[in-house]
């Protein structure tokens, strides 16, 4: 009875004709959260790699924070996928009998490669010396936790530390294409679905990648601006300006690619253009035109232009950077929403639109999604406690 009622309610909101099986939205809010999270991972890592590979010295204060942020989000990334499966107890099948023609089958391998070989290894070598020193200075469980994390190594000779540094650099060099792979791959999962004209685009992996870089840099910038004052430190304005500068360029590239995609679709004006226009004008107007484009892209872009053109005071700059960071997070989350949910709101008959009614409590509901977005910050706070990204001198701004 409940199902029938649910159907009646949904069918009232259907516009035009949809295939009967399309009344259900298959990929819910959890699948919106998933690319958002992996995007943050890839973006944060790219920011970190600017320090190690491209020697952008001003960004050094954000390096370790960016790595820990990437790790905190990466640990949670598979959870939304796992929770959304119809038969979660069978997810191991993806490792046991992967179908090699399936883009999705590669998820586990791309994930493990990135987590194990890039993030964990790089963080290990970056912190190895410090962990040995800190464990000798601390007592109780923290001492043992650090000992365990350093894999009981004890060598802090110059030679060993030099080896660590070299290794970190090599891993970062491998890490950059891996980060591109991680998020470009997520874009490919959507972009390769020829049945869905909203998704099917060769630009999809590229759009995903640059929006990932944008969201990751903005997230690290926000975290840096929040955590440093909390730890009684002083925000390094040179660093912040430089981060914001990279963010500005990333937003411009991201915006250009999205505009190109948009114009291309409009100009080619294929069979699906009518229903897609209707989709954007009605069901996605708020989340796409207002949140993604106006508030999440154009407004921060405008603010950053103002900051670049006028020499504003430090405090004003900080405030504006912070606002930009928040707006960009909102914008990128909306981008993910518009791709994932938007792509399912129109019928593949191109004759109608359906609707998505988000649950509040259920396993694929709003609260679970919210929890999945909060947990990474909890993990990050533990990581920061255990592996402080800054030394006392750095916090004071020296």
């Amino acid at each position: 009875m409940e199902a029938a009622q649910n159907f009646m309610e949904l069918s009232k909101q259907v516009v035009g004709f949809i295939y009967p099986n399309e009344i259900d939205i298959q990929w819910s809010i959890l699948i919106v959260v998933y690319p958002y999270i992996t995007g943050l991972v890839a973006g944060a890592f790219i920011l970190a790699s600017l320090v190690k590979v491209f020697n952008v010295k001003e960004l050094q204060p954000t390096y370790r924070l960016a790595m820990l942020t990437a790790l905190a989000f990466m640990l949670i990334a598979p959870l939304p996928l796992q929770l959304h499966l119809g038969r979660p107890e069978r997810s191991y099948e993806m490792f046991m009998t992967p179908n090699l023609t399936s883009a999705m089958a590669m998820f586990g391998f791309v994930y493990l490669w990135y987590l194990m070989l890039v993030l964990l290894l790089e963080i290990y070598f970056e912190y190895r010396r410090d962990m040995i020193v800190w464990s000798s200075e601390s007592t109780g469980p923290k001492k043992w936790a650090l000992k365990l994390l350093s894999l009981f190594s004890t060598d802090i000779s110059e030679k060993a530390v030099a080896f660590d540094k070299k290794t970190v650099k090599i891993i970062t060099i491998i890490g950059i294409p891996s980060a591109f792979l991680l998020h470009g791959y997520v874009g490919f999962i959507f972009g390769s679905i020829k049945a869905n004209p909203w998704w099917s685009s060769v630009m999809m992996p590229v759009v995903f990648l640059f929006s990932a870089i944008v969201s990751g840099i903005a997230m690290v910038m926000l975290l840096y601006m929040i955590i440093i004052p909390l730890r009684d430190g002083k925000i390094d304005m040179k660093c912040l300006d430089r981060v914001a500068s990279f963010l500005f360029y990333a937003v411009i590239v991201d915006f250009s690619i999205e505009v190109l995609d948009f114009i291309h679709r409009l100009y080619e004006s294929e069979e699906s253009i009518k229903i897609l226009s209707q989709l954007v004008e009605t069901k996605l107007f708020m989340s796409m035109v207002v949140l993604q484009i106006l508030l999440g892209m154009l407004l921060p872009l405008g603010i950053m232009v103002v900051i670049k053109v006028f020499r504003l005071q430090e405090e004003v700059r900080k405030l504006l950077y912070f606002v930009c960071g928040l707006l960009i997070q909102l914008g990128i989350f909306s981008t993910r929403w518009n791709v994932v949910i938007g792509g399912q709101l129109f019928s593949k008959s191109f004759r109608g639109l359906t609707t998505y009614k988000m649950e509040l409590m259920g396993i694929e509901g709003f609260l679970v999604a919210l929890a999945l977005l909060i947990i990474p910050f909890v993990i990050l706070s533990i990581l920061i406690k255990l592996l402080p990204p800054w030394k006392k001198g750095e916090l004071a701004g020296s």
């Binding site: 199902a3 035009g16 009967p20 399309e22 298959q26 499966l85 009998t97 992967p98 049945a195």
Partner: protein
């Protein structure tokens, strides 16, 4: 023999006949099953739009035969009703789906017809390509099936299907779709939708046999498939299909 005895005997005869008949049907099916060789067949379906009267018996029979959830919005096969009006606007709705169909004034209607839909059993199936665990697969005789014991319920196949032929079964939590009634095929029986169609709008057959009903259907009609530009190579062939249908 009085009337009572006669009826008694008649009862015996009918019931034993039924049992014997059932046994022989079963034996026949078993024999067919034993000799069934997947490599010797390649199945497809023909649908003649001009013959469909929109009675919906195929939809009902399919739901019963395949235990498709009774809630109104899951279908392995369904029938769409197209109305093209004189002002060239098109209105479509699914039969039996509680959608209010348009109230029509005859002079406003240019043409109107029914389109039975089902899984197209594509020769290049996108659902098989994207399934991460290989739970969706193509049999030697050309039918796309879902291994419900392996499917993880990720629903990527549902996204990849251009025809809306798949759904997530709410009871088993795995992907579900038309199988051409594969359990019947291996017994030498027809898919149930074909069997119950009172107008023979659905024609089933073996594409490896030129003498099969499908062979004749594709010889005698001009054939079209759905969404040919997607290169999925459907094996459901439509005769007299209108260009408006997608």
């Amino acid at each position: 023999m009085d009337r009572r005895d006669f009826l008694k005997h008649l009862g015996w005869v009918i019931s034993s006949g039924g049992i014997l008949g059932g046994l022989s049907a079963d034996a026949w099916a078993k024999m067919l099953n034993k000799t069934y060789d997947t490599t010797k067949h390649y199945y497809g379906m023909g649908i003649d739009i001009d013959k469909c009267i929109g009675c919906g018996r195929c939809m009902q029979a399919c739901k019963t035969e395949n235990a498709v959830p009774a809630v109104p919005y899951y279908f392995r096969t369904w029938v769409e009703r197209y109305v093209i009006k004189t002002d060239r606007t098109v209105s479509v709705n699914t039969l039996n789906s509680d959608e209010p169909g348009d109230v029509l004034v005859e002079k406003d209607v240019l043409r109107s017809f029914f389109v039975p839909k089902l899984c197209n059993q594509c020769d290049h199936p996108p659902c098989v390509q994207v399934c991460p665990v290989g739970a969706t697969f193509k049999t030697d005789d050309g039918v796309i099936l879902v291994d419900s014991k392996r499917c993880i319920g990720c629903r990527y196949c549902i996204q990849a299907c251009p025809y809306g032929a798949r759904y997530l079964n709410p009871e088993t939590r795995v992907a579900d779709k038309c199988t051409f009634c594969y359990h019947r095929l291996v017994k030498g029986l027809l898919p149930v939708c074909v069997e119950v169609c009172p107008k023979q709008a659905r024609v089933f057959g073996d594409m490896k046999s030129i003498a099969s009903p499908l062979g004749r259907f594709t010889r005698m009609n001009k054939i079209h498939v759905l969404k040919p530009s997607l290169n999925t190579d459907p094996k459901v062939y439509y005769a007299n299909l209108d260009g408006e249908v997608n």
